[in-house]
């Protein structure tokens, strides 16, 4: 029987990892990811799991060790945030190009500088082109569920890509909330066992991992990574369906909230979607036709789904928790380019919010909606919520 646990988001993720019981976890602590590593180390030291834990000396080595381990055919996980992810980033690209199904929760935090330990999405956006699948999660339940689904997706033979599961620093990781935990056996059965085709430990059939790949093949290999990403996109609905069977929870690329008849739609990722849903309810009560779209899958980017939902609406506001200096904000620019092909394009507005953990209140969300309701949107203008000008 599934049980209700009231714990932090970090504990929820650690429980998902415990149930998966990977062969190897290599990690280095960084706020606000630290409690995940600590919980997991506790599970190991109490003998609750028999994972080999590698308490490395840096995130660069964490990702390096994880590559060595996954190439050896072991189911492997790590977790990090912000500067840790930045330090890893060289190897983050390598992990994807070696097609290693690593799962890595990212507890989103502002990427220095100046140093700041609170939530925004600049870390995830920094590696958005590294070839990893990226999920974004609103709360404990989703962080837990997507960690389990990540393992399943990463190891599909036609995918074999690493996956990041993003959850908001402190808001999700340290906030206490209830979530439903599945039975250990149910999760174990869902993820199954991992038997890779190639392993560094197979001395009978030796394989060279990470050769020098020059102009005569490198391009083709990257083309294959793109194909794997396409396969991930195709496999995802099946994973969602299978997960629904064990959990009763139905996920999709986009979480749609009151969008059916909505003229105005807000797009926002992770925990801020909860605040936005609350504002949608308020505005609905006042008679406004508003709705919310929360992307759960960011890479592969669900362009078709966005087109279907947004075509013909009056106004769309996109909220980004990261900046792309000198360019349009990352989520906004992708949504905007998706709409190039639709028959009836909505007006669009770009809003930056919550950098460095800046509180995002219902009033701020309302401000963005009101711009849309009043026909005051400008495709070309980047606006800021809660910023002192």
């Amino acid at each position: 029987m599934p049980v209700k646990l009231t714990v932090t988001g970090a504990a929820a993720v650690a429980h998902a990892m415990r149930q998966i019981n990977p062969d190897v976890v290599a990690a280095y602590p960084i706020t606000p990811q630290t409690p995940i590593v600590e919980y997991y180390a506790g599970f190991v030291s109490d003998g609750i799991v028999d994972t080999v834990m590698v308490p490395v000396e840096s995130e660069h080595s964490a990702m390096s060790a994880v590559v060595g381990s996954a190439a050896s055919g072991a189911r492997t996980m790590t977790a990090t945030a912000a500067n840790g992810l930045a330090l890893m980033s060289e190897i983050v690209y390598i992990a994807a190009s070696y097609r290693l199904p690593i799962v890595m929760p990212i507890v989103n935090r502002a990427l220095s500088g100046p140093i700041n330990i609170h939530c925004d999405h600049s870390d995830a956006m920094m590696v958005r082109d590294s070839g990893w699948i990226q999920f974004f999660t609103e709360n404990h339940q989703e962080a837990y569920d997507f960690t389990i689904m990540a393992t399943k997706l990463a190891e599909k033979e036609n995918v074999l890509l690493p996956v990041m599961v993003n959850l908001d620093g402190f808001i999700t990781s340290h906030g206490v909330e209830s979530f439903e935990m599945l039975d250990d056996e149910v999760v174990r059965e869902f993820v199954g066992s991992w038997n890779p085709k190639y392993s560094l430990l197979n001395t009978k059939n030796p394989v060279t991992f990470g050769p020098l790949d020059l102009f005569d093949y490198y391009f083709e290999h990257h083309r294959q990574q793109e194909e794997a990403m396409k396969n991930a996109y195709k496999e995802l609905p099946g994973v969602f369906e299978e997960f629904e069977k064990i959990s009763g929870r139905r996920y999709d690329f986009l979480d749609l909230y009151k969008v059916d008849d909505a003229d105005y739609i807000m797009i926002v990722m992770n925990s801020t979607a909860s605040t936005a849903k609350y504002v949608v309810d308020q505005l609905r009560e006042e008679g406004h036709k508003v709705g919310l779209v929360k992307p759960q899958v960011f890479t592969p980017f669900p362009k078709k789904q966005f087109q279907q939902v947004l075509n013909g609406r009056k106004g769309v506001v996109v909220l980004d928790r990261a900046m792309s200096f000198g360019k349009e904000a990352p989520l906004y620019s992708l949504v905007k380019s998706s709409l190039y092909e639709v028959a009836s394009r909505p007006s669009l507005g770009s809003y930056i919010y919550g950098l460095g953990g800046r509180d995002t209140t219902p009033e701020m969300i309302r401000e963005a909606f009101e711009d849309a309701l009043q026909g005051n949107l400008s495709t070309d203008e980047q606006r800021y919520l809660g910023l002192r000008e």
Binding site: V52, V54, S61, T203, G210
Partner: protein, 325 residues
């Protein structure tokens, strides 16, 4: 220790870990190192799984779709071969524990150049050793970044000419002595560490055996000339390194859990100048007025180091600081 017969027998099986087709320069000493290390392991019945850091050996032996490695091999990046192998070794322990694999003959061998070891890779190496992973790390020390074209490294000796610290009109090339990497590794204490040289294959193979049998991290630094940038004739690598030993430039010694042992004690030593002047990379220095001053500094340094080694051997005899990891 494997006998000459074992090694020769192994050579004849043609079951080499590092095979033909690599594109290292003619005369390069790095492939000898790769061959001897893996031959020693195979002739002792181990199944090597190899990791390599970015560098000459790696780029020249794995040009896709070819590979010279007839054993499992992984290259990850420049600075992280030790971390990569610590992940693989952890995976091995985990999968053995869980009964997912049965083969208990695997030994992990990491190869890296001096740049990937003394400098950019030192942190990951130190971390892996401190954590006590069971692997053998072989540093083929050619005293510079050769893959990128003869830049200085933490191993480049004083007065040597390199492209990032050339001997010029105002500056006499590298101003610092090289780092004593084996001492740094020995400072981790729970470790086997040794020097070796390409002119003494049996000394190397014996140390390789000790390293393989050591339950925990082991490290061997082998002086392996780069003929291109040391500017020496293609066939002179071993001859030159013989001189390095005879001049105290590269003493042969080992460290095992606190106990130091000098493994070769030449009766008579030659002046370090004999070694240095053999190398074309010193030609420019020799034309400078401060050449003698630098040579004297180097001579004093190698003499002091040698005396220190003998003293360490004496006081640590039968006194390991640790007995197990």
């Amino acid at each position: 220790m494997p006998s000459i017969r074992d090694i020769v027998g192994y050579v004849e099986t043609n079951d080499w870990a590092f095979t033909q087709g690599h594109r290292l320069c003619p005369g390069c000493n790095a492939p000898m190192v790769a061959n001897w290390a893996t031959l020693a392991a195979k002739s002792l019945g181990y199944e090597p799984v190899v990791g390599a850091a970015t560098g000459c050996l790696e780029v020249s032996s794995t040009i896709y779709p070819f590979t010279s490695w007839n054993v499992p091999y992984i290259h990850n990046a420049f600075e992280n071969v030790a971390a990569t192998i610590s992940g693989a070794e952890s995976a091995y322990r985990s999968l053995l524990n869980r009964g997912k694999i049965k083969n208990d003959k695997i030994k992990f061998i990491a190869f890296a150049g001096d740049g990937g070891t003394y400098d950019i890779g030192l942190q990951s190496l130190s971390g892996a050793i401190e954590r006590g992973h069971d692997f053998v790390y072989i540093l083929y020390d050619n005293e510079g970044y050769m893959n990128t074209g003869n830049q200085r490294s933490g191993s480049t000796p004083i007065g040597a000419d390199s492209t990032t610290e050339p001997v010029g009109k105002a500056i006499s090339g590298k101003l610092q002595l090289k780092k004593s990497i084996v001492d740094i590794i020995a400072g981790h204490e729970g470790v086997y560490a040794a020097t070796a040289v390409t002119s003494e294959p049996w000394d190397f193979i014996r140390k390789m055996q000790s390293a393989l049998e050591f339950k925990g991290p082991a490290f061997i630094s082998i002086l392996a000339p780069c003929v291109r940038f040391w500017r020496i004739p293609d066939d002179s690598g071993p001859e030159v390194t013989k001189l390095a030993v005879e001049t105290k430039y590269w003493p042969l010694w080992e460290y095992n859990m606190g106990v130091y042992k000098v493994t070769k004690k030449p009766k008579i030593f030659k002046p370090v100048k004999d070694y240095v002047t053999k190398l074309g990379r010193y030609n420019k220095l020799m034309k400078r007025p401060d050449a003698n001053e630098i040579l004297e500094e180097l001579q004093n340094y190698v003499d002091a180091k040698w005396d220190r080694l003998l003293a360490l051997e004496e006081i640590t005899k039968d006194k390991p600081i640790r007995t197990k990891i």
